[in-house]
């Protein structure tokens, strides 16, 4: 079968029974390629070209549909993650269209670091966006991820204006983005968007083995996971600024 190269999904992993990537029981499809290089990235294999399988959207969906009965009972579906799934528009759009054709609930996990047009093009195909807010300060953002945050914040606002269903998420990394000033600014921004809730993903170290296996060096290999006290404190800080926190993971 010749694959339409533009619409081929470069899939580096598919995980069934994902329960932390959106509502219910889901199958998460990890697409290769990312516009950021976050210091704490937990899927470094997403940068590597050649590690992924090239699959047609139909083939990906055939795998996703296998757990259809479990989505039905749990309100779950397909989550597209990465990497940055919206980086290459044609394949992700074809995949989402295919899912919708089968009535599958869709969630897209994005960094927002993509052209606004890419987001606009999938708006009607996505039931829920997981949108990461990593740092509010453009300079710090660039230092930590390799890119500024201007486009990201604009895209966040754009999604809210268009009435999309969005969950904003923040990876809480000790010493990186958990200071009171940053939390206050983040809360202000979230509220300015009209959102009331922020999902906090505490940093953890479980991904470090992946770097070793890939022969890479993890920039944050010395950073510890936040303590329960620190997490509670951060949640209270955000709460004080009017944002309800949901702890994930």
């Amino acid at each position: 079968m010749s694959l339409n190269a533009a619409a081929a999904c470069r899939v580096f992993d598919m995980q069934r029974f994902s329960i932390h990537d959106g509502p219910g029981i889901r199958t998460t499809v990890f697409l290769e390629g990312c516009s950021l290089r976050c210091a704490w990235c937990q899927n470094p294999e997403a940068f590597q070209s050649g590690a992924a399988d090239e699959l047609s959207p139909e083939a990906v969906l055939a795998e996703v549909l296998k757990d259809r009965d479990f989505y039905a009972v749990s309100g779950g579906g397909m989550t597209v993650s990465g990497g940055e799934p919206l980086l290459h528009l044609a394949p992700v759009r074809a995949l989402l269209e295919e899912a919708k054709r089968h009535g599958i609930d869709t969630c897209v996990q994005t960094s927002g670091a993509v052209p606004k047009g890419n987001i606009e093009a999938v708006l009607g195909l996505v039931d829920l966006f997981h949108f990461d807010l990593k740092h509010m300060d453009p300079r710090r953002h660039r230092a930590l991820t390799g890119a500024g945050n201007g486009r990201i914040l604009q895209n966040a606002a754009f999604l809210m204006e268009r009435g999309a269903s969005v969950q904003f998420r923040m990876p809480l990394v000790p010493g990186i983005n958990d200071d009171p000033e940053h939390l206050a600014e983040l809360a202000r921004f979230v509220r300015s968007l009209g959102a009331k809730e922020l999902r906090v993903l505490p940093y953890h170290r479980l991904y470090l083995d992946k770097y070793t296996a890939l022969g890479m060096v993890a920039p944050l290999r010395g950073t510890e996971a936040p303590s329960a006290e620190r997490l509670a404190w951060a949640a209270a800080e955000l709460g004080r600024h009017g944002v309800a926190v949901v702890l994930e993971g």
Binding site: R16, F17, I19, D21, G24, I25, D69, V73, G76
Partner: protein, 842 residues
């Protein structure tokens, strides 16, 4: 977390720290009465024997007890039924082993057991009669130990597995001295062990099948005892005597009447003891309790209960006496306890005579009592089953009522609390239907946070299977779980749900060796031709099914012969009197008295067999990477020098990964097996039902099975129950469930079990708990019958092996029942650790 009532905490502590004894009272008095009743009808003999036991055995009331009723002279001691003969060879040859593994016996008792009781029964037991009958019908398989055969076995198994079969189960020491000492001990024990292995082989049926001595595995008619009392049951039997036509009917009905009197006398003994203790105690609170106990024991189970506490006491008396009457190791189950007790609970609450707290205390105590059971099992092949809770007294909770409405009630939830508080190895089966409240299912999942014990059963599938087998839909909806996971009628059925079994991988062994099993070596079966000359996979598959069909036939025939022995010689009018149909028909349950009658043939090692067939198809016939000749040679030498081939085979397509073409093999195998089993009729109008459950015995059974084409080494455990082989699941729980659900579970009348381990840490979050509930619901929507989970991570299990003293209360699900991990044999422990642990969820 709420905690156990302090009086129950004390009882639990006593249970966990008590010594396990062998008590011979049941054996002695039964035998005494039996000697005196030669020539009488078996129903009368059994009633007389029961009467003697219940009159003379020690009665005990323990400190803090509100519910009374013991089953032997020591706190923990299984009542021994010497007439069955299933444990006699263990006492004769392995008593010293049993002492080493935790049992004690008084010196006098040991003498009486070995010099008087067991010799009396020689040639008279069910077992002796069964072995003679099987021999006479050419259904046994002799262990061929000729030099050439021994060489062949040694080649196929290597010394390791054969030694492990008899070697002791202890943490291996590594020093030379340790090994020398162990070797010395083994040499000293070997003669006894070998005798025991030979005697144990008496359960073997031609084709390496199994037919044990015990039937039972039933739910007594607790509903009838609660409704009528034994006084009412006796009145029914007497009324029926008027129309009795045969001597047999009369004898049975008289046996029932005697048994009812025996029950009354038994509870009166507790009433007297309670009164005596109340006069002695200085504690005013305890005195009042004992006086109330005395009053209750004067009423129930003779009369119908008037209150919740009387109902629980009545239920316990009947359950306890049923087990005494049959002896330990009989799988006698209380049934739907939440349904049985709810009317009394509701009425008492309404009258203001009971508080929720007091009801909970009583249920906690009931749960503790239901965990006070052990079976006598020789410690062979690293299989050690003599721990608390092993003689499963499964309770059934939740589910639909006879009219098809959800019957989950407040007591179902109260039982969950009691199970959680007691945190013992309670075997509890939760019936889940589409109508079950979501909150109830969530609560059942949450039990795993405290203890690994609940089993989930799918009402829709179980009821469909019962109806297919001939139950009315109303009766089917009342099903209870017996033994591990076998659905059976609620006090209306007799069906020995366990004990007879074949192993699917053996059918392959018979194909490869042209009708001989590697372990036994005799020409058991048909010669299905030279395996190296099969031209197609279909030809091999057809030979496989020919062998399997013979195996099923032999085991069913053997079971018929065994059942005839019970029907002719060993009745149980006590249990029969409670079961629908027996009084009406004037017949004992062993002789077709019950309304519904069935037999069972189980199948073992499904995953191993399916993976083996899939590997043969893939590597021999499709990819042509290996010839049948090479494969046969490698299997007969346990892959010696062919590790490359073994690795290839291990990497083949496996059952449990949602691979339609592999799952189709499993679907066909189960469907054909069930058809073979169901086609066999029993003596009393029913048919045989299939089951796929292992009770942890897959470890022991695997020890007798040579290497298999899935890359499994000789002597390694077979796959358990209906689960994929250990380590085969690579795509997570939804994929495994999808595979297993491709099988039509409604064909499997006596149930199947899917054992899974949960992802590490999943229950820490509410989302995780909810997701497990959804996983169960999704599996059931696909038609799955049963699933149970272990929520303990590998690190904890390994630590518990290293430092058992720190993990005395760690409970795991073995297969259809729960157990203390550290009290299991090493090889069962390893098997549980080997079950796929799912990666943490991202």
């Amino acid at each position: 977390m709420a905690t156990l009532h302090p009086k129950n905490a004390a009882q639990k502590e006593r249970l966990l720290t008590a010594t396990h004894w062998l008590c011979i009272e049941r054996a002695r008095y039964y035998t005494e009465a039996h000697r005196e009743t030669e020539g009488m009808h078996p129903s009368l003999r059994a009633a007389r024997a029961l009467q003697r036991v219940l009159e003379k055995m020690t009665v005990r009331i323990e400190a803090d007890e509100l519910l009374v009723g013991n089953r032997s002279s020591k706190l923990i001691a299984p009542p021994i039924a010497p007439e069955r003969g299933d444990f006699s060879f263990v006492f004769e040859h392995l008593l010293e082993e049993m002492k080493r593994f935790g049992y004690r016996i008084e010196a006098d008792d040991e003498r009486v057991l070995l010099d008087e009781i067991i010799p009396y029964w020689k040639g008279r037991t069910v077992r002796d009669a069964k072995i003679a009958s099987l021999r006479a019908h050419g259904l046994t398989s002799e262990l061929d130990l000729s030099p050439s055969e021994l060489r062949r076995k040694l080649r196929a198994f290597g010394p390791g597995p054969l030694l492990r079969l008899v070697a002791e189960d202890e943490v291996p020491g590594s020093t030379l001295l340790d090994r020398a000492l162990r070797g010395g001990r083994l040499a000293a024990r070997l003669p006894g062990l070998l005798k025991a292995v030979r005697a144990g082989a008496g359960d073997n049926v031609k084709g390496r099948g199994r037919c044990t001595d015990t039937q039972a595995h039933i739910v007594p008619g607790h509903k009838n005892v609660l409704r009528l009392g034994f006084s009412g049951i006796q009145a029914e039997a007497r009324a029926r005597l008027g129309s009795a036509k045969t001597e047999g009917e009369r004898a049975f009905l008289e046996g029932v009447a005697l048994s009812c009197d025996a029950m009354r006398a038994f509870s009166e003994r507790f009433a007297s003891l309670a009164r005596a203790q109340s006069e002695e105690t200085r504690d005013a609170g305890r005195r009042a309790e004992l006086e109330r106990i005395a009053e209750r024991c004067g009423r129930v189970p003779w009369l119908p209960p008037r209150s919740f506490v009387e109902a629980v006491q009545s239920l316990w008396f009947t359950q306890n006496a049923a087990i005494i009457s049959y002896g330990a190791g009989s799988g006698i189950t209380p049934g739907r306890v939440d349904q049985l007790l709810f009317p009394y609970y509701q009425a008492d609450l309404a009258r203001g005579e009971l508080t929720r707290e007091h009801a909970l205390r009583l249920l906690e105590e009931l749960i503790i009592k239901l965990n006070n059971n052990v079976i006598i099992w020789p410690n062979l092949g690293g299989v050690k089953l003599n721990h608390l809770g092993s003689d499963v007294e499964n309770i059934t909770l939740g589910g639909l009522d006879a009219s098809g409405e959800d019957a989950t009630n407040e007591l179902s939830s109260l039982f969950i609390e009691a199970i959680t508080h007691t945190s013992l190895a309670t075997t509890a089966s939760f019936r889940i239907s589409k109508k079950s409240p979501k909150e109830f299912v969530r609560k059942v999942v949450a039990i795993h946070r405290e203890t690994s014990s609940p089993a989930f059963l799918n009402d829709e599938t179980a009821i469909a299977a019962m109806v297919r087998d001939g139950y009315s839909v109303e009766a089917a909806r009342e099903y209870c779980l017996v033994g591990c996971v076998e659905p059976s009628g609620n006090g209306d059925s007799y069906g020995a749900t366990g004990g007879s079994k074949v192993y699917f991988p053996t059918a392959l062994d018979l194909v490869f060796n042209r009708g001989r099993t590697t372990f036994f070596g005799a020409q058991d079966g048909v010669d299905t031709g030279d395996p190296t000359r099969f031209e197609s996979f279909e030809a091999l598959l057809s030979a496989f099914y020919r062998q399997l069909e013979s195996m099923v036939g032999w085991v069913a025939e053997a079971t018929d012969l065994r059942d005839a022995i019970w029907a002719e010689r060993f009745h149980n009018p006590l249990i029969s009197s409670t079961i629908d149909g027996c009084i009406e028909r004037g017949r004992d349950m062993t002789a077709g008295g019950a309304r519904y009658n069935f037999g069972s043939v189980g199948g073992g090692g499904l995953g191993t067999a399916v993976d083996s067939l899939a590997a043969i198809r893939a590597f021999v016939f499709e990819r042509k990477q290996v010839t049948m000749g090479e494969l046969c040679e490698a299997l007969s030498t346990d892959f010696r020098g062919r590790e490359d081939l073994r690795r290839t085979l291990l990497g083949g397509p496996r059952f449990g990964n949602d691979l339609p073409e592999v799952d189709a093999l499993a679907r066909e195998l189960v469907a054909r097996f069930c058809a073979m089993v169901t086609a066999r009729k029993t003596a009393f109008g029913g048919h045989y039902k299939a089951s796929l459950i292992s009770y942890g015995l897959n470890v022991y059974e695997g020890a007798l099975e040579p290497a298999t084409p899935d890359g499994r080494h000789a002597g390694e455990p077979l796959s358990n129950s209906m689960s994929p082989s250990n380590g085969a699941e690579r795509r997570g729980p939804t994929a495994a469930m999808s595979s297993v659900a491709r099988i039509d579970h409604t064909l499997i009348g006596y149930g199947n079990s899917l054992n899974m381990r949960l992802p590490v840490g999943i229950l820490k979050t509410e989302k995780g708990v909810e997701s497990v509930a959804h996983l169960v619901r999704g599996y059931f929507d696909k038609g799955g019958f049963h699933v149970q989970f272990n929520a303990v991570d590998t690190a904890t299990l390994l630590a518990a092996q290293q430092r058992p003293q720190d993990y005395g209360d760690l409970i795991v699900r073995v297969s259809g029942y729960s157990a203390y991990f550290t009290r299991l044999g090493r090889r069962i422990q390893d098997d549980i650790i080997g079950r796929s642990e799912l990666a943490p969820c991202r």
